[in-house]
């Protein structure tokens, strides 16, 4: 703080703690904010209220037993959590995945991306003050996808659907028609959402040039996901690692220029349109029949608590809707993992929350936190 002229005494700083019980912190997350009037002078995030020591739990259970716990990491996109964990174990134990299971996995991952981005836009508008209308439109569309998840995996949010080497069960009888229906009118819903929001002057003036994140700081602070791409860095793990069968689909990666809250909002809308393109291609290429669990996978699933992967360590990562979600597993040959570490995107994306909020208003801090899209299950593990 530049030392202002002698006669004006130091400005009356207001120490406010936003959270952990606050209407718009997406869960139990606290920000100790020091305000000079309405502008933020200092911001210290405090977390750990939802810490369940998921990693120690996983070290005392068999590999399959911690699969349902990965649903509870980022409870909005449980399918992608399962996907990342399944890939990590497959890399560790060298299990192959049959053709149809790969297609089902990409189908589930892209549907989860649609859910996550739609919900995020809804909650971002809630932080901006729109009285729940965009959120409830988002929920209305999410219900259709969740019905499909319930029909295939058995549970709407806690799917526990992926197994090492494939998936638990094939699509139900009417499954393909349900997906076709969802994909067909999702782009119509996105047009309605954009008509409601994108050209809204109040939204634009509230979000443009707020919480700007430069390219260099984003890369240096290992930010991943839509926030990184909104700052203009072209890094999408689906394109970099080409894991699973993503190389068979032709889709673009939208990049922003300024890297502020408005870019993060609009990059997510464009990513949803790309996901719809992937789903359309997937529906055309998907083989009608095929086994959904490879031989090695079936062996692992027969008696999970006896199954012993070879010793060694492996790091599997995917492009989850919030960023790079990775699992680092060390196995010592016993049925229980020796070390089980989750690399959560939300936890690392808030490292530079303070840099984005300095000098902004209180209302902006809430909006920036909303645009960073954190889920506390994943931050605290």
């Amino acid at each position: 703080m530049s030392d202002t002229a002698v006669h004006s005494q130091e400005p009356q700083l207001l120490e406010v703690s936003i959270g952990p019980q606050h209407p718009s912190t997406h869960g139990v997350f606290r920000m100790n904010v020091v305000l000079d009037g309405e502008t933020i002078v200092k911001l210290k995030p405090v977390m750990g209220y939802l810490h369940r020591n998921h990693e120690q739990l996983a070290e005392n259970m068999s590999y399959l037993a911690s699969m349902p716990y990965t649903d509870r990491l980022d409870y909005i996109c449980s399918m992608t959590n399962n996907f990342a964990y399944a890939m990590a174990v497959e890399k560790l134990a060298g299990i192959d995945v049959p053709e149809r299971a790969q297609y089902i996995r990409v189908l589930m991952a892209e549907l989860t991306r649609l859910i996550n981005h739609t919900l995020l836009v809804g909650f971002l508008l809630n932080d901006l003050g729109a009285f729940f209308t965009p959120t409830l439109y988002a929920f209305r569309e999410r219900e259709k996808i969740l019905d499909f998840f319930e029909a295939t995996a058995g549970s709407r949010m806690m799917c526990n659907y992926f197994r090492f080497g494939g998936v638990k069960a094939d699509l139900p009888a009417g499954g393909m028609e349900q997906v076709k229906e969802i994909v067909k009118n999702y782009s119509r819903f996105l047009d309605e959402f954009e008509r409601l929001l994108t050209s809204n002057e109040i939204l634009r003036s509230r979000c443009q040039n707020v919480g700007i994140l430069s390219k260099e700081l984003a890369v240096n602070a290992s930010i991943t996901g839509p926030i990184l791409r909104a700052s203009g860095v072209n890094y999408d793990i689906r394109k970099v690692d080409k894991y699973s069968i993503y190389d068979r689909f032709e889709f673009k990666v939208p990049l922003g220029k300024v890297g502020d809250v408005y870019d993060r909002y609009y990059v997510r809308i464009l990513e949803m349109r790309e996901s719809i393109k992937i789903l359309q291609q997937l529906l055309k290429q998907m083989p009608e029949k095929g086994e959904i669990l490879s031989a090695k996978g079936a062996a692992a699933a027969k008696s999970p608590r006896m199954w012993k992967p070879p010793a060694g360590d492996a790091y599997g990562r995917i492009e989850s809707p919030k960023g790079e979600l990775g699992f680092y597993l060390v196995s010592d040959g016993s049925p229980k993992p020796y070390r089980y570490h989750v690399r959560p995107p939300s936890f690392i994306n808030i490292t530079i929350l303070e840099d984005m909020c300095l000098g902004q208003k209180v209302a902006d801090a809430i909006v920036i936190l909303g645009s960073v899209d954190i889920v506390l299950g994943e931050v605290d593990r």
Binding site: H51, V219, A221, S222, V233, Y328, D332, H341, R381
Partner: protein, 171 residues
Amino acid sequence: MNVEEIKNDLLKHVPGLELTVEGESFIVPKEKLLEAARFLKENEKYRMDYLSCVTGVDYLAQAARLGQPGQAAVGGQSELASGYLESVNHLYSMEKKHGPIVLKVRVPRSDPRMPSLVPLYRGAEYQEREAYDLLGIIYEGHPDLRRILMWDEFEGHPLRKDYVEEDQDIR
């Protein structure tokens, strides 16, 4: 980007570095970690500008001695044989989009201090604080090393293999 090529480049450019290769990863002595990481970050060929994941792992004495199958037994440095704490860093390049280079640093459990990577990568800040909080690895040079997930008055490091949870509610 095979392991041999990286090993030779590292040995060539970082003076006085004795490197052991374990499967895909490199065991770097803690004194040379910052130099090796800086070389990998600035060198034109690699440009490893993205530190994806920092993990702390705790190897107890018997696990260390018998050595993980597929990992070299650690009999060599005597004080490490009594069990060591390991910090695994996965480095990627966002610019050149090429695969992970894994740097591992091992410190004995009795003196768990190692240099922090925060001066090079801001992304390591929270992950190193978590490794300190749950495993007790002290990162020197970390701007603000305090507990991140547990509450500040918590004693002990829960993820250590020899962590015994004291029973508060013995009725």
